[in-house]
Symmetry: D5
Amino acid sequence: MPNIETFENPHPKRNYVIRHVAPEFTSVCPKTGQPDYGTIEIEYIASDLCIELKSLKFYLQSFRNEGVFYEDVVNRILDDMVTALSPRTMVVTGSFTPRGGMHSVVIAEYPDEAEFADDE
Amino acid sequence: MPNIETFENPHPKRNYVIRHVAPEFTSVCPKTGQPDYGTIEIEYIASDLCIELKSLKFYLQSFRNEGVFYEDVVNRILDDMVTALSPRTMVVTGSFTPRGGMHSVVIAEYPDEAEFADDE
Amino acid sequence: MPNIETFENPHPKRNYVIRHVAPEFTSVCPKTGQPDYGTIEIEYIASDLCIELKSLKFYLQSFRNEGVFYEDVVNRILDDMVTALSPRTMVVTGSFTPRGGMHSVVIAEYPDEAEFADDE
Amino acid sequence: MPNIETFENPHPKRNYVIRHVAPEFTSVCPKTGQPDYGTIEIEYIASDLCIELKSLKFYLQSFRNEGVFYEDVVNRILDDMVTALSPRTMVVTGSFTPRGGMHSVVIAEYPDEAEFADDE
Amino acid sequence: MPNIETFENPHPKRNYVIRHVAPEFTSVCPKTGQPDYGTIEIEYIASDLCIELKSLKFYLQSFRNEGVFYEDVVNRILDDMVTALSPRTMVVTGSFTPRGGMHSVVIAEYPDEAEFADDE
Amino acid sequence: MPNIETFENPHPKRNYVIRHVAPEFTSVCPKTGQPDYGTIEIEYIASDLCIELKSLKFYLQSFRNEGVFYEDVVNRILDDMVTALSPRTMVVTGSFTPRGGMHSVVIAEYPDEAEFADDE
Amino acid sequence: MPNIETFENPHPKRNYVIRHVAPEFTSVCPKTGQPDYGTIEIEYIASDLCIELKSLKFYLQSFRNEGVFYEDVVNRILDDMVTALSPRTMVVTGSFTPRGGMHSVVIAEYPDEAEFADDE
Amino acid sequence: MPNIETFENPHPKRNYVIRHVAPEFTSVCPKTGQPDYGTIEIEYIASDLCIELKSLKFYLQSFRNEGVFYEDVVNRILDDMVTALSPRTMVVTGSFTPRGGMHSVVIAEYPDEAEFADDE
Amino acid sequence: MPNIETFENPHPKRNYVIRHVAPEFTSVCPKTGQPDYGTIEIEYIASDLCIELKSLKFYLQSFRNEGVFYEDVVNRILDDMVTALSPRTMVVTGSFTPRGGMHSVVIAEYPDEAEFADDE
Amino acid sequence: MPNIETFENPHPKRNYVIRHVAPEFTSVCPKTGQPDYGTIEIEYIASDLCIELKSLKFYLQSFRNEGVFYEDVVNRILDDMVTALSPRTMVVTGSFTPRGGMHSVVIAEYPDEAEFADDE
């Protein structure tokens, strides 16, 4: 996995929203070996670090030939971003093109407000 | 009815949203015997199980030659999905093409927050 | 006025939404005698009864040659539907085509949460 | 200014919404003398009176050759309507076409929930 | 930086919304020296002062040949506007055209409801 | 049938195009007695006469309660207009809303370049 | 195959265009057994006969459970319509929903101006 | 009528197309005295002169309080432009907003290829 | 390169159009090594052979990790398809997503009506 | 002016179309000194040379701070491209954002079929 590079948040005292939308995401279906396509949207409120755009592009490209389910890839992107940025909040949305006549969307959020006490 | 197959939720500790949109739904009007057409959207937060996409396609196809009212089919899909997946929450929406110059939408939700204690 | 026919709600224990959209509504302006055109949308949560679609079509057609103001027709449809169905909640929306360079929308809701105590 | 004519609210006991949208509004910029163009939307819940559509058209036309700023015209329309109708609530929105590469929107509301105590 | 000119709010007792949308914003990427393009939207509730449109145009043009990051420019516009206008509330949104297959949005708000006590 | 009123073509020496689009057309299906809805578009190059807009409105309204097939109504409008206006050329298009899951368009033209010699 | 019913062309001396658009077409893929979906558009200039809309609906429904390729079904509909109507000209277009990430369109025309004398 | 100012065509040896679209046109209906609204589009191939944009704006504004029919105004604009510019070719299109439920388009062209010999 | 599989044209005596649209095309820029994305549309009139859809999908996927310019890839697809199908006519269109703030389209056609005599 | 770089046409024997669309064009109005914005589209059939995309970007950026009229800039881009590429045919289209309530389009073509021998 390529490094996710960051730069210092130029306005760390304000809770402002940053959203990057990447409509050229592609990965591979782990079941059929066929390519999947979709749009990944990352929206966050930065703490001390912002994500550098070029490294985000390379990071998302690293899934190009990797087999991964929709439900998994969105959560993994969220986990990787949260690790790299420690944002105040973040939402990652993946919208995938039709397969078998159906299209799918997966939306994961940090922090998870309704997390399950006893699981932790 | 075909089996609804599931796979293990890869991120069960997080409340993330999964949405599948199937614009090729068709059933038969029980009154006129004429085909009905619409889009079925299933949005849920998984507990331990996710729905497998291919089996969802076959499940929805099983209504192709079955007579069923709009109000009924959306609730039945919700009931079947809840039984198969035990999701944390689920919303099923059916949007049907015009009949008699009118089009219809039906939206059912689990759990039903305003359920009627035992007043029925 | 034609009879509004109903059928038994197939899932009376769940609060699910039913919406019918009729873009071919027409009535007559009581002031000018000119035809008015618009879309009537009826959205409700059924109690024990659902509205039968064909009788809804005939009901809406009964306004075709009747003189009635925008503000009045939407409220009258709401009243008639509430009488026929005793729904848990209902919203009727009328969106009318331009007259004199302006178009109009009227939205009425049952129950009216802000009803006026001293009037009742 | 032309008279704003009204008619009796046919359903005064219900809080229902009435919205009129007038996309053919034009006035004159008091600074440049150039015409301005926009859409005026008036949305209200009537008390005892509804606005008569034809007089609304004439009222809005009365700004055709009058010099008035965006921020002012929207508030003046709201004031005039509130005076004429004594509505339960009203929102007036003006959306103006581009000037200098920018377009503008002004939205004023009655009653103003956050009015300023000491000013009154 | 050009002066941000203001005029007296003609209706200072009412909390009404003013929104200016400038789709012709351009600046320069400080990293690559390449031009960036986007839409800046400024929405505020005025206190005593409103922003004069022509000076807003000149203010935004002052970024034309300046190197500035997306995250920075939106916050700087907000800071400059707050200084010039002392508005009751303000939101500045920048939506930028695709770079590297991704487009970005930044949204900053005043006052920042979730400001960080110990930082101040 | 109401009179189709005309006025003198103000520029009879030039072949210029006039198009009127009436999206509020309604008639009655002669087979089912149910209302039909559609848009009638009349495009012509005038000779000496132009159609007066108000009388066109009344003319089209005269079909409101008349039973007539799609294929017939478009040709009848063309015939009536040609009789009233003797235009250089005219095309009448009717686009009707869905019935039985299908929508229909009928387009008739004067003069008919491919008319059938032996029929005349 | 259901009978294609016709009615007499009410204006047989004029070459006017009739177009029916059926967005609810479905058949079965002969290779996979999976349902296909699409829109069938039939545009023709009638000779002595017009197609009756209800029988067209039943005719198109007869493909619902039949296995047939895109390229074949469009040509077969054209052949059946030409046999039933002997139109002056006809074009049949089928636009099918995505399969394997690709969607397809097939367009067949009668008469085929470039037909191959007997060189086949 | 304000002067239509021109500037020298910077590339007079090439037949290139210039199109100006003015969506803020307004005049007055000579019959009802009510304002009309529409979009005027002027497309031409210049000979030696191009139209200066600011003077075009003032020219079009001169119709603001003038009574003129749709069919007339488009031809008059064409005549005025042809007189001022002597273009190689020109097309003027007026698209007007709905009146009485119908909207209208008028298109006039210079030179008129099918002009009427004996009239000249 | 995967085999392009074909099947026998079921209606070889008619010149009918077949169009396949593949919005999920991706290749690699030979200069930067960065992925390119676009839509490939193949429209043809078959002679004796039609392209089999699944093999078309695999054929297009074979460019996934190959370095190729826009201008080249569209022509190569055309050449490969013409070799495999010997169609009567074919047009291949590639529409690519923005790079450097510009998007590109390439359209190649067989046969090339304006081919260059002396080159052959 | 930056160099327009080219590369060898990979398929010089075929007349295929190449189109580049640049929606981020900006220059300066020579009269007012204010920035202009628009989209430049270049469509051509290459002879021996194709335009290299990165140098096209830099070429278009060279107008960023240059004063030039709409009518002039489109013709100058065409002239520069024809000089650099000697294409078989080329069309350059500039679509500019609204100024004074009007937007403008300029379209120039090479070769100019109706060129004026030397009669100017």
